[in-house]
Each structure stands twice: as C-alpha cells, then as structure tokens.
C-alpha cells in the first residue's frame, strides 16, 4: 500500500488507541475552557451583573430559594408583582433553573466555599455551555465518530447562535435548556440504537428536567414522536424502537406532570397529543407484529392490516371529537402562532410585540452561524447517504428547526445544535478523506477521459479497463465523453453521484477505489479548511464581544479617544427608587421593566415580563396612551405612586418607550376599542411623528408628555432634537398637571414621575395648578383700569 506521507510503523494499535483517547479528553477539556472563556466578555467588559429582563426575575426567585429554602420558594406568593393581584410564583414558574443554582449554591456552601448566590447565577450559563459541548460530542459520536463529535463540540462551544443566550449573566432558562435538549436527544438515540429501557429512562429523566426548566420542552415532546412516526412509516419498526419510545414516553410524561406549571397539560392540550398518538400507534403496530409472527394466514393478515388502519382512523376521530367538545384544548397561543404566522399579530399582540418573536432575516443566520450555515446542508446530504435510524432524526430536526428559526429569532437557539452536528459531520468527512494517507491504486496515466466515465458509469473495477481501451463506446458513453470535455462534466457527475451515494450500505462491497492522489490536493483542501475554521473563530470572537456581551442594564459607548464610557442610567434610577421612596410605593411602567424594578428597586409593580394577564397590561397601555385627565383616575385606582418611562431621545437609545408606544396603543385597543384607536396616533399622512406635525392625540398622551416634558429646555433656546427619531421637538414642550417630575437620570434614559394626590380643596388638579401659577380664570371682558381723574 502506498501512502502519501510517511507513517510511523513501530506503533502498537493499543498505543494509538490510548493516545487518541487521551487527545480526545484533552481536546474536550480545551473546548470546555474555550466555551466558558468566550462567554466571560460581559464580566470582563462590565462586571458580574445579571443581564436583560427575565434573568432579573430568575435571580430574585433564586435568592428567595437560597435564603429561605425550597419549600418557601415553592409556596411563594409574591404580592408585589401584578399589583394589586399578586402572583403565585411557585405554580407559575419553571423551577428547574432556580433549583439548579440552589443545589450548586448549597453544595458549595457545604464545602465551606462562601460563594455569593449572584456569582452562581452569573456563571451558571457558561458552566452549562461546557456541558452542552460534551453532550453534543456524545450525540455526534452516535452520528459518525469521535472526530466529528469533537468538531461539533468545538462548534457549539463558540458558535454565536448559542452564545447569544448563554453569556455570563444571561441567567435564563435557555442557559441550561440546551444542554438538557442535547442530552435528552443523545439518550433517545442511544435508547433507540440499543433498544435499551435504561437509556429510555435516562432520556425520560432528562426530559423531566427539561420540562422543569424551559417551556421549549414541547420541542422534544414533538421531535421524538415525529422521529418514531417517520421510522414506522418507513417500515423500520423494531422492538428497539418500541422499548425505547415506550419507556421514554411513559416515564417522561408521568414525570413531567409533576411540575405544577405543566400539570395535566400532557393529556389535555394539542401540543402533547402527537406524543400520545404515536405511543398508541406503536402499541397497535407492535401488537400487529406480534400477531403476524404467530399467524400465517394471508387473509388474516389482510384483516389485521385493515383493523390497524381502522383503529388509527377511529383514534383520530376520537381526538377530533374531544377537541371539538373542548376536553382537549385546541392549538393556541404561542405554539399555534408558529404555524399560522399571522395569528399572533391579530389575536395576541402581546406575543407579537416581543422583539425576539420577530421573523429572522438572513443576515441574522449568517451572523449567528457563519460558515456552518452552508456546511449544514452538506451534512444533511451525508446523513441521507447513510440513513441509519439516528440520521433520520438529524434530518427531521434540521427541517423543523430551520423552519422555526425562520419564523422566530429566538428559536435560532434550537437550530444551532443541529447545524453544529450536521456541519461537523460534513467537515469531519472532508478531513477524513483528505488526511487519510492511503493512496488509491493509480490507474494508467494515459487513460482517456471517456474511460474514466465508463468506469464510473458501469461501476466495474477500474483496473480491468486500464489495459484495454474501450472497444465500441455506446451512444451514452459518447455523450458522457463529450460532456467530460466541459469543465463541469454533468453526466459524469451524476453517474458518479449515483455510484457514490450507494455508500457502504450498498451490497456491502466497495464499488471502486477511493482516495486522493498526491500531497498538493490534500494540502490545498486542508489549508483552506483550516483557514475557514480560523476565520470562524475570529468571527465568533468578534460577534460575541461586540454584539452579545452587553448586559443591556448597563450600556457602553466609546469616547472620542477610544476609551469606554459606561452609561449606567438604569441602575442609577432603580437605586434612586429604592432609597427615596417608601417601600410600598407602587411603580407603574411598561411591562418590559417590571422584573428589573422588582429586582433592583424592590418596589411593587403593576405589570411585568410574566405577561399572564392581558387586561392588566392593556390597562397600563391605556393609561400611557390616554390624556392626563383620563389616565389620572386609572393611576389613582391602582394606587400608583410613581410612573417610570424610558426615554432615549437625548443620547439616542433606540429601545425606548416612544418606540414601543404603538404596541401599548395596540394592546390597549384590543381591550378598549372605543377609547383607544391606533390611527389617531399617526399624522393624517400616516406617519409616526413626535415633532410639531404629530397628531393631537399623540401630543396629549401621557407617554408623550412624560417623555418630552421639559426636554426642549435642555437646548437653551436652540432647536431641540430627538436623536432616536431624528425629528425636531416642538419648542414649547408639554405641561403636566397631574404628575410631578420626581427624578431624571444622568442621560435622561429613565424618567420617574410622581402621581399627585387629589387636591386638598377638592378642585381638579388642572385648575389647582393654574391657580398656583397665578393664572386667573379668564374673564369674558377685562376690567378696565380706572383712570385717574385729572
């Protein structure tokens, strides 16, 4: 056997195996280190702080769990959220994340390591990303081999699509959920491959953990049944499938029902019905197989077949009836809006309003996955080449996840693992082929093009043709030879493809020799692969440090000399609230800031990011979008003491309330269509403006007034400019009669207003104000001044 480069020959196979295994361990350790390290940008650039919005609630709940124990947490009723309704936290939360940090915290304290709970929360996501890399390694190992597994682990470790949800401080359910997702899938594949009830049970346990951790568990609930269904339809039913699926479904479903927030949903809602139906179908098919193996009569088998079909139809009918009768909830809400993409905007604007529920444009895909996005289809094709049971899983996963990721930016997270797995399979196959030192049997150098085509077309051994030239080329071969002269010999390629796609499953014998000639072909492919990989590393580092490591609680800008300038308005304002207001002062803000106010300012809020009560949110929206006079009774009825708005017009912070204002109007309009109408907030030309041309309703709305109150004064007589909308603000700003400005942060991002109490003399506040300013009521006729008599 000739090799392209010299190989050491004095190594025993055991040494090679041991070294490879050691190298794998070292590589995995390094990958884990890289995964954790690249997520620490946020801590290094800013500080160890909880990010965004939802993590603030998780952090607050974890603090309760860590300080008061699990039972207190479980029974926690939070009277300060959704004031005056309150919130039963224990029953409305996925507790997996908090429980995980609580366990880690208690474990470390048992070891006498006095770690702050905040640091456990901040570093949980990076820690779990290392575990995700390992789980992906195990999963990919089942698809191809260890080297593909290592590549996949490296990809998922640093790919921005996953980093975006798991940087240090991003203490959200997704932080641990992706590890659970991948590990459940790995156990499922194992269970399926080995027909092992043990792995089925482990899959079920991790499925339970996933259910306790993230609402996205429904993805697993539907992926595994779909895989099982496709296997049955392909005629690949086996007792391994039966054992694996039944053990997973039975234990997993019973376990998932123990989570209070999930409760009886697994037997009552449509999202879970697929799993149940496939479970039933499996029993029928298994029974059919059993009977078939005992009965030989062909007619009986036909009857059996018919009865199986009839049972299936009957089951569907029963399901339809139950749905119709309302015993099974039909597809609703979030999950339904994935299929009917116009549904959310029409019926649940609150879901449509969230920025991470928007559809994904292609630059986001490229930003998050870079070159993996185009290796991914190649990997899927390679899965089709082998098409073992587990490859079908990857294929289904690829289709479903790419659709979901297209519909919602947030679901990019579920696409990322399969992209990493598939592209690792593709890239590792490429590297296997081109690193392999074995030189194929060299054919005759003088062999003509047409002969090469004949070899591939007829599929016989090339060496037999090398001696004898083709005697009478048939018409087809002539055509192929003509095409081969072109730079892209299509017919040759197709025949090659047919030859190559047979793969190892095709009759088990190699069709012809396979391999690469010479060093230069190897080198160029390996070099450019390495170049792409290192470009990927640069890309990931850049994206992570620039785009995904901002805590969004603290903003950063760059000074003229290039140094970093920290904008800390949010915390400034929240600490002001904490220190200057009574503890029971109710703060009203748009729901985005509810968790942050509760977490940082520790004050009761009307609405927060747990958007469970649409009417309550619409009430806040109505107060914000109506006039002061109309809003005041609403504020007073809800005991609101302070109103908090986010305003970015001064420094150009685009995520402010004026930009979110239309959603407030829309949500309020959904509940009070007679009082709030969206078109009133536009100019007659249909533009959304805040300058002189703004509509009267817009100018009189509470939100507009609170945002631009005294804004023009800042500019000292010059034209005031809103730097987000790029519009000029009217010189005479709005006036406020029912609210008092209480606090405005350094860069005006947060503005807090105090709601005035009713006037002590019983006047309405508007006239009381006018009186206070010395304006007298207009008389119909000015009293003529008495003229002195000369």
């Amino acid at each position: 056997m000739t090799t392209a480069y010299p190989l050491p020959s004095n190594l025993s196979p055991a040494t090679v195996a041991n070294t490879a295994s050691l190298l794998r361990i070292v590589a995995l350790a390094l990958i884990s280190g890289a995964a954790i390290a690249s997520r620490l940008f946020a801590v290094i650039n800013f500080e160890s702080i909880i990010h965004e919005f939802d993590p603030w609630f998780n952090y607050r709940a974890t603090r309760v769990l860590a300080s008061q124990g699990f039972y207190e947490f479980w029974n926690w009723f939070d009277p300060t959220a959704w004031y005056p309704l309150g919130r039963v936290v224990g029953g409305t939360v996925y507790p997996g994340l908090m429980a995980t940090s609580g366990v880690i915290y208690n474990f470390l304290h048992a070891l006498n390591l006095p770690v702050d709970i905040r640091n456990v929360c901040v570093l949980l996501a990076p820690g779990f990303s290392a575990l995700t890399a390992w789980a992906t390694y195990m999963f990919t190992k089942e698809m191809k081999d260890e080297s593909a597994g290592l590549l996949a682990a490296a990809f998922i470790g640093i790919v921005p699509g996953y980093i975006s949800r798991s940087v240090a401080g991003s203490y959200d359910n997704e932080a641990i959920a992706i590890f659970l997702l991948m590990f459940t899938f790995y156990c499922w594949i194992k269970a399926l491959k080995q027909g092992s009830a043990l792995f089925g049970t482990i899959a079920a346990i991790f499925y339970f953990y996933m259910v306790a951790a993230w609402g996205g568990y429904v993805f697993i609930t539907n992926m595994i049944p779909l895989h099982a269904l496709v296997l049955i339809l392909m005629g690949r039913f086996s007792s391994r499938l039966y054992v694996g699926y039944s053990s997973w479904y039975a234990i997993g479903t019973l376990a998932s029902m123990q989570v209070p927030f999930v409760g009886f949903q697994p037997v009552k809602t449509s999202e879970h019905m697929g799993a149940l139906a496939v479970f039933g179908l499996l029993q029928i098919v298994a029974f059919g197989q059993l009977v078939r193996s005992h009965v030989s009569s062909a007619q009986f088998q036909k009857l059996l077949y018919a009865s199986v079909v009839a049972t299936g139809i009957l089951g569907t009918a029963v399901f339809g009836l139950l749905t119709y009768k309302g015993w099974i909830a039909p597809w609703t809400g979030r999950f339904y809006s994935l299929w009917d993409t116009g549904y959310a905007k029409k019926y649940i604007p609150i879901i449509a309003s969230v920025s991470e529920h928007q559809p994904t444009a292609w630059p986001s895909f490229f930003m998050d996955l870079q070159f993996l996005i185009f290796l991914f289809p190649a990997g899927v094709i390679l899965c089709f080449r082998e098409l073992r049971d587990e490859h079908i899983f990857v294929i289904i996963y690829a289709v479903m996840a790419s659709y979901f990721a297209g519909v919602m930016v947030r679901l990019m997270l579920t696409l990322t693992p399969v992209v990493c797995v598939a592209s690792a399979v593709a890239l590792s196959t490429l590297l296997d082929t081109y690193i392999d030192p074995k030189e194929p049997d060299t054919g005759d150098d003088t062999k003509s093009e047409s002969e090469a085509t004949v070899v591939s077309a007829s599929g016989t051994n090339g060496s037999s043709f090398s001696a004898t030239p083709t005697p009478t080329p048939s018409k087809k071969i002539k055509k192929a030879a003509a095409a081969a002269a072109a730079p892209l010999p299509t017919s040759g390629i197709i025949s090659d493809l047919v030859a190559a796609t047979g793969g190892p499953t095709r009759r088990g014998e190699p069709i012809k020799t396979k391999g690469i000639f010479g060093m230069d072909s190897r080198l160029i492919v390996i070099m450019h692969t390495l170049a792409m990989l290192s470009f990927f590393v640069f890309h990931c580092t850049w994206v992570t440090s620039n785009a995904y490591s901002s805590p969004s609680v603290v903003l950063a800008s760059t000074n003229q000399d290039g140094s970093q300038h920290i904008i800390d308005d949010f915390r400034e304002a929240y600490y002001w609230l904490r220190q200057n207001t009574p503890e029971d002062a109710v703060v009203m803000s748009w729901w985005d800031y509810g968790y942050q106010i509760a977490g940082m300012a520790d004050r009761p809020t009307l609405v927060d990011n747990n958007t469970w009560n649409n009417t309550h949110i619409a009430t806040v929206g109505k107060a914000m979008s109506s006039t002061e006079e109309n809003a005041y009774p609403i504020l007073r009825k809800h005991d609101v003491d302070y109103v908090l708005v986010i305003f970015g017009g001064l420094i150009g912070y685009s995520g402010d309330d004026i930009n979110k204002f239309l959603w407030m109007v829309r949500i309020a309009q959904g509940v009070w269509p007679d009082e709030i109408q969206e078109p009133n907030y536009f100019t007659p030309q249909g533009e959304y403006r805040i300058d002189d041309m703004a509509s009267q309703t817009m100018k009189n709305s509470l939100m507009y007034k609170m945002s631009y109150y005294r804004f023009a004064e800042l500019f000292g007589g010059n034209q005031a400019m809103d730097r987000v909308r790029q519009q000029q603000v009217p010189k005479v700003g709005p006036t406020l009669d029912y609210l008092d400005e209480a606090f405005t942060s350094e860069n005006w991002i947060v503005r807090i207003y105090q709601v005035k109490k009713e006037d002590l003399l019983g006047r309405d506040l508007k006239s009381a104000n006018a009186f206070g300013q010395g304006k007298k009521r207009k008389r119909t006729k000015p009293v003529p001044r008495r003229r002195a008599i000369v």
């Binding site: 928007q358 559809p359 994904t360 444009a361 292609w362 630059p363 986001s364 895909f365 490229f366 070159f371 185009f374 290796l375 991914f376 289809p377 190649a378 899927v380 094709i381 390679l382 089709f384 080449r385 098409l387 294929i395 690829a398 289709v399 790419s402 659709y403 297209g406 519909v407 593709a426 490429l430 082929t433 081109y434 054919g443 150098d445 062999k447 093009e449 090469a452 070899v455 591939s456 730079p487 090659d496 493809l497 190559a500 796609t501 012809k512 690469i516 000639f517 010479g518 072909s521 160029i524 492919v525 450019h528 792409m532 470009f535 620039n546 269509p673 007679d674 109408q677 969206e678 078109p679």
Partner: protein
C-alpha cells in the same frame, strides 16, 4: 265628503310617513343596501335617529379609478345581504347604505373627505339603543385588517342589536379542486412511487427546504417584503430587513457552497485519474473561496460594522 277629506290628508300622511319606514322601504328595494343621495343621507343620519346605520362612502364610477373601492364593494354587499336574513324587528333598526361620490359630492365635502372607500358607523342618537357613553358621533372603520368581509361584519356587529349573521361562503370550487387533486395524486402515486421512495428525492426536498428557510424566506412572507427595491436595488438596507430577491441569491450561494463541499467529499475521491482529480480539487476549492468571499462581502453590505473580509 269623507273621501275628499281622506284625499286632502293623503299628501300630509305621505310627508309624515315615519322616516324609519321610508328607510326600510328603500333598504328592501336595494336588496339590503340603501343607495343614498344627499337628501336620503340627511334622513338616515338625522340627529333624531333611533336606528343605527353603517355607510360605505365610495366612488364606484369607472372614471374615478378607485380600485380599492371596487375591491371592497362586494364584501360590503355580502355583509349587507347577510343582514337581510335577521328577524324584522332587529333588521329595521340598523341599515346598510352606500353613498357614491358621483351621487352626492356635497356629502363628501360636508364630511371633509378626500379619499374612498370609507365606512362610517352611526350609532343611534335617541331611543333605547342610544349608547351608554352618549357618543353619537360616527366611528370610522379601520381598514388595517383588509377588505375582507369577516372582520367588517365583526366590527359592525358591535353596533347592531344582534350580531351580523355573516358567514364566509363555502368555496365549492376550492373544495372540488382539492378533491380532484387528491384523487389525482392517488392515481399518480402508483407511477411516481419509485420517485417518492427514493431517498434522494427526499434529500433534495429537505435541503431545499432548509436552504430557503435559512435565507429568510419566512421573513419575507411574514413582513410582506417586496421582491426588490426597484431601480435595480435588490439589497434591502439594514441588518434586520431583506427583499424577496435576497432569499433567492442567498439560498443559491449557500446551495452552491454546500454543493462544492459535497463534490469534494463524495465525488472527487472516486476519480481514478490523478490529473482529473487534481483539476477537480482545484476547481471546487476555487469555487468555495470565491463564492465564500462574495457571501462575506454581501454580508458586509448588510452589516456595515463587520470588520472581516476575504478576497473581495
């Protein structure tokens, strides 16, 4: 004598005829829709009305070239027609009417309207059905939901004594074509089943689906992006935005790159001539490098702050 008396009273009786009855007659004559002119408009929207009314202000004349009016008119008539099926006592307390611009331009002037179509719903100003908040001013229907009859009926139902019994007509043609299509598929299935059971059919389907999805097709569907920006400009400005043509270009680029890798993996190693193999290795490597550079530069157009570039 008596007859003479009656004769004398006749015009008086006619003039004093209940305006509501008059409207009912007009409505019946117009198949559920009153065709208004300036006087009947005043009658229908009189400040003493005890009935509610929904009025379509439109310009159906061909010369006005109001395409939206033409599109909306059938929906309007369908909803109005469905109202004729409700019991008499409710039916006569709400009217549907159409006012064409060419019949009464003065009304358009009076209402200060310069566009069409517009739907106003006048709540009753007096009587038992007067709205509780005392607002008798007409409300305008918001066309943001389109010209579909369903949402329109839903909106008008808020102002009628009983909901408008509108139901979308069953689209028999669609059902029939679906049935025929299904039967045809079953018939064809026998012939194409070898294609359907071939894994490569499915492979191509899968890959094409995921390519289209990962190039932002759903974005263009949900946001109704135009195919291109006009004037040869096919790249939408902004990172979170894209045109329909970008889907095609990006999907093609991804597909070509994936194809090149597949060539390197699946085809090139099976070449038995070293020369041909080397040529193919160089060819596909070159294709990957060039196309990837194009992709990166395309991405730089979308994301101006992106610091990296390849050969282009």
């Amino acid at each position: 004598m008596r007859s003479l008396f009656a004769l004398l009273l006749l015009p008086f009786a006619f003039a004093a005829k209940d305006p509501q009855q008059q409207l009912v007659d007009l409505s019946t004559a117009g198949n559920g829709v009153i065709k208004l002119d300036a006087t009947t408009f005043d009658l229908l929207t009189s400040p003493k009305r005890t009935w509610s009314a929904a009025i379509q202000l439109t310009a159906l004349d061909k010369r006005r070239r109001c395409t939206p009016c033409m599109e909306f008119d059938p929906s309007w008539n369908m909803v109005a027609k469905s109202w004729t099926s409700v019991p008499k006592e409710q039916r006569n307390t709400h009217f549907f009417a159409t006012l064409d611009f060419d019949d009464a331009p003065t009304v358009f002037q009076k209402l200060g309207l310069s566009s069409a179509p517009i739907v106003y719903v006048y709540p009753p100003a007096e009587g038992p059905r007067q709205p509780a908040n005392g607002k008798t001013a007409p409300s305008k229907y918001d066309f943001s939901t389109g010209f579909e009859p369903g949402p329109l009926a839903e909106h008008i139902s808020k102002h009628t004594p009983i909901p408008v019994p509108y139901k979308d007509p069953i689209d028999w043609a669609r059902w029939a074509s679906m049935a025929v299509g299904g039967l045809g598929l079953l018939f064809v299935l026998r012939f194409i089943s070898p294609i359907l059971t071939n894994r490569w059919t499915w492979a191509v389907g899968t890959v094409v689906t995921s390519l289209i999805m990962t190039s932002g097709y759903m974005f263009t569907r949900i946001r109704n992006s135009p195919y291109s920006g006009g004037g040869g400009n096919w790249i939408a400005a902004g990172y979170q935005n894209q045109f329909g043509q970008e889907v095609q270009v990006v999907a093609f680029i991804y597909g070509l790159l994936a194809f090149s890798f597949l060539m390197l993996i699946m085809i090139v190693p099976y070449q038995s001539s070293p020369y041909r193999q080397r040529m193919q290795v160089y060819l596909w490597t070159g294709v990957i490098m060039i196309i990837y550079s194009i992709l990166v530069s395309l991405f730089r157009v979308k994301n101006r702050g992106y610091p990296f570039k390849l050969f282009l």
